[in-house]
């Protein structure tokens, strides 16, 4: 059992090493098979581990494996060690399983690319780092995985490096997340100074004993960790890197910028939920940030033309939901939504990637249209995923996960009406933009002809994910529907249950409201984008929509507030003003030399004159002294 835990991240790393060292020499798709195989083995091991873990419940709630001692300096002792519990189990399941499907898809998607083997090397490195992140039982090891995925994100966004824009997008992503990471490492320092250990388990045990609820130190620490989570998960105010990150290949967007890495923030908060519970202010901030982000990103998604940017804003918005759930203490709901979101969002990205591939790099949905008949499989899977995203009642997994969040946002202890209103309005927006995307892309007249048919390796993952997007929700039914909640029961081994202080009977009412609103949203999308497009013509071209299109001008704000001053600072002092000191000294010396050698002009009478002046001065001084 414990051996397997170590192997799960090790095998993708091995794959990375092999591909990195020998990938250049591999012919055809061998590199792809190796990369996929490595993740596949990890996924297989995950299933084995999961089976054993479920078997061991409820006696053994977590397993730990220590590989080696990493750092030991003073009282800082850090081991490279992993621990598996329900929370990390769900995460590694999503990472390896969805990761495996995306790898498989990539074999065909990336075929023919000159850096085919590099791609799989990076992807494997990413999977390995992500597994380290979620398996870590130590804040520093977690941080290592955390930065590792950041590196892979950077490498893969900038994978097509020949376009400078891609490189800049990658850099932006890295720097934005790095800002959050720095806050996080300071939070880790604080944890170490207060607890003398970085072991997550020990910290979580000691924290309630040492820290008062709402104390300053708890608040600061939680806020710093939240900083890291915000950066990684693209939440307000560090969200603007994610839409640009779509410059990477579609499988990358699917794996890193939808399914796994961006949800690392969710994982971090869930993992350190005790700290957040000790800092109610920060927890409320999490909820508010989540609510604000989901609305802002929802409006922006509605304004986009690029299919991948729609999905990117949608991702930000959906992670906003997860943050909302975390903020109101609905831990398992957040993780549930993470899992379901991973399924349907990965599917959406893969579908979008397939469309883009077939249409020769066409990203604009207004230039697609009518693809329903030309790509039936993609259409159906895409439709399913969009429905799941929009949380179409009863038939989709998204309904179950999102409604749980909405319900808790109202009913939990720290929830409230306003959070719920934000959530439900977000749900309406989600329905609207997701079906806007579907209708514009697949209905109407065809504007671009597909140039190729996509193959099996692309379609199989789509279908599998589509099935999961429908059936995935059945692992957790709403409380009012009977007590079939295996998912949260599993998680309650790690995370506390959500306390509800409203009447449980209300849940059905709220579900009906949200179902109605989603259906209205879908209908409106149908009305606006198929039946009567002129209704929204004026809105589409309004200033407000342009503003949303630019992502609420966050980039402009950062540009003016940070980028411009820094660049200005850099430019005014490029030559390093301390050099003035050096050149100053030598210039003064040279000037002195020149002035003094002027006096030595070879004119005898000039010398005599200076004698006379000198004598006059000295005598005058002596006499008048």
């Amino acid at each position: 059992m414990t051996t397997y835990i170590g192997l799960i991240p090790a095998i993708p790393f091995l794959g990375f090493l092999i591909l990195g060292l020998y990938g250049q020499k591999m012919h055809g798709k061998i590199a792809g098979y190796i990369g996929t195989g490595a993740v596949g083995i990890s996924a297989f091991l995950t299933f084995m581990v999961a089976a054993r873990y479920l078997n061991g419940l409820p006696e053994i709630k977590s397993y730990t494996v220590t590989l080696w001692q990493w750092i030991s300096a003073g009282n800082l002792n850090v081991n490279i060690s992993f621990s598996l519990d329900a929370l990390s189990l769900i995460f590694i399941f999503v990472i390896t399983f969805v990761g495996f499907l995306i790898h498989m898809y990539s074999i065909e998607f990336m075929a023919g690319d000159e850096r085919f083997s590099k791609f799989f090397a990076y992807m494997n490195l990413f999977v390995g780092s992500m597994l380290v992140l979620v398996l870590a039982n130590n804040m520093l090891v977690l941080y290592m995985g955390w930065e590792g995925v950041g590196l892979c994100s950077y490498l893969l966004i900038g994978f097509w490096y020949k376009e400078p824009e891609n490189g800049y997008a990658a850099r932006k992503a890295f720097i934005f997340t790095r800002v959050g990471d720095t806050a996080m490492i300071l939070g880790i320092f604080l944890l170490f100074l207060n607890f003398g250990t970085l072991n997550i388990h020990q910290i979580m045990q000691q924290a309630p004993e040492k820290w008062m609820t709402g104390s300053a130190i708890a608040t600061v620490t939680a806020a710093l960790l939240l900083g890291g989570a915000l950066g990684k998960s693209a939440q307000l105010p560090l969200q603007s890197w994610l839409p640009d990150a779509m410059a990477g290949p579609s499988p990358v967007s699917a794996l890193i910028h939808a399914a796994t890495m961006v949800t690392a923030g969710v994982y971090l908060i869930a993992r350190t939920h005790i700290l957040f519970a000790l800092a109610p202010v920060v927890q409320t901030a999490v909820a508010v940030i989540g609510a604000a982000t989901l609305l802002i990103a929802g409006f922006s998604a509605l304004a986009q033309h690029d299919i991948k940017r729609i999905l990117a804003y949608s991702t930000i918005s959906q992670i906003g939901y997860m943050f909302l759930a975390l903020g109101v203490g609905a831990w398992s709901a957040a993780v549930f939504h993470f899992m379901i979101h991973a399924f349907f969002k990965a599917l959406l990205f893969l579908g979008a990637g397939a469309i883009i591939l077939a249409l020769d790099e066409e990203h604009d949905i207004f230039k697609m249209g009518g693809l329903r008949k030309k790509m039936p499989v993609i259409f159906i899977t895409y439709l399913v995923a969009s429905a799941s995203l929009a949380a179409l009642p009863l038939v989709t997994a998204g309904f179950y996960s999102k409604d749980q969040i909405l319900w808790y946002s109202f009913s939990s202890q720290s929830g409230g009406l306003w959070l719920w209103i934000a959530g439900i309005f977000g749900a309406f927006l989600t329905a609207l933009y997701s079906f806007r995307m579907v209708f514009i892309t697949f209905y109407g007249e065809a504007k671009t002809e597909p140039s190729m048919k996509v193959g099996k390796l692309i379609l199989i993952p789509l279908v599998v994910l589509a099935v999961l997007s429908v059936l995935g929700g059945l692992v957790e039914l709403p409380q009012a529907w009977g007590n079939f909640r295996p998912f949260s029961n599993l998680l309650h081994n790690v995370l506390p249950a959500t306390t509800i202080h409203k009447k449980e009977g209300l849940e059905v009412v709220f579900e009906l409201i949200s179902a109605t609103i989603v259906l209205i949203g879908v209908y409106l999308a149908y009305l606006f984008y198929i039946k009567k497009p002129w209704l929204v013509k004026s809105y589409e071209h309004s200033r407000l929509n342009e503003f949303f299109y630019r992502g609420w001008d966050f980039d402009k704000v950062y540009d003016v507030l940070l980028v411009k001053p820094i660049v200005w600072l850099a430019e005014i002092d490029e030559k390093d003003f301390f050099n003035w000191f050096n050149t100053g000294v030598s210039k003064v010396a040279l000037f002195g030399n020149r002035v003094l050698s002027l006096t030595q002009n070879g004119k005898l009478r000039w010398y005599l004159m200076s004698f006379a002046i000198g004598i006059a001065l000295i005598l005058t001084y002596m006499i008048y002294r």
Partner: protein
């Protein structure tokens, strides 16, 4: 017996000295400069004599003799140099002979 106060004598010698100095500063012709130097040397000797007389010591006169010797040597060397300079540069302008200048 001369009863002019020593102060007057000193002023007289000083005046001569300053005249020599002024001549040195004003003239560009080397011969005139050499002459001015002679005037200055002479006035210095005058002070020695006056002082020696005032104190009743022979040293002032001894010094005058030394000054005389120095002046003689200086003039002979100086004039020889002037001859050479004139042969070389065909001028007696002291400003034209500025080889002592620092070349930078």
């Amino acid at each position: 017996m001369l009863t002019v106060p020593l102060k007057i004598l000193l002023l007289f010698a000083g005046t001569l000295f300053l005249l020599g100095l002024a001549g040195l500063l004003v003239r560009r012709n080397i011969i005139f400069m050499l002459m001015s130097i002679e005037i200055m040397l002479n006035s210095a000797g005058l002070v020695f004599i006056a002082a020696g007389r005032h104190w009743g010591q022979p040293d002032g006169q001894v010094m005058f003799i030394f000054i005389l010797a120095v002046a003689a040597v200086e003039v002979s060397i100086g004039l020889a140099l002037i001859l050479q300079v004139y042969h070389h540069y065909k001028t007696l302008d002291v400003d034209a002979i500025s080889k002592l200048r620092d070349h930078n």
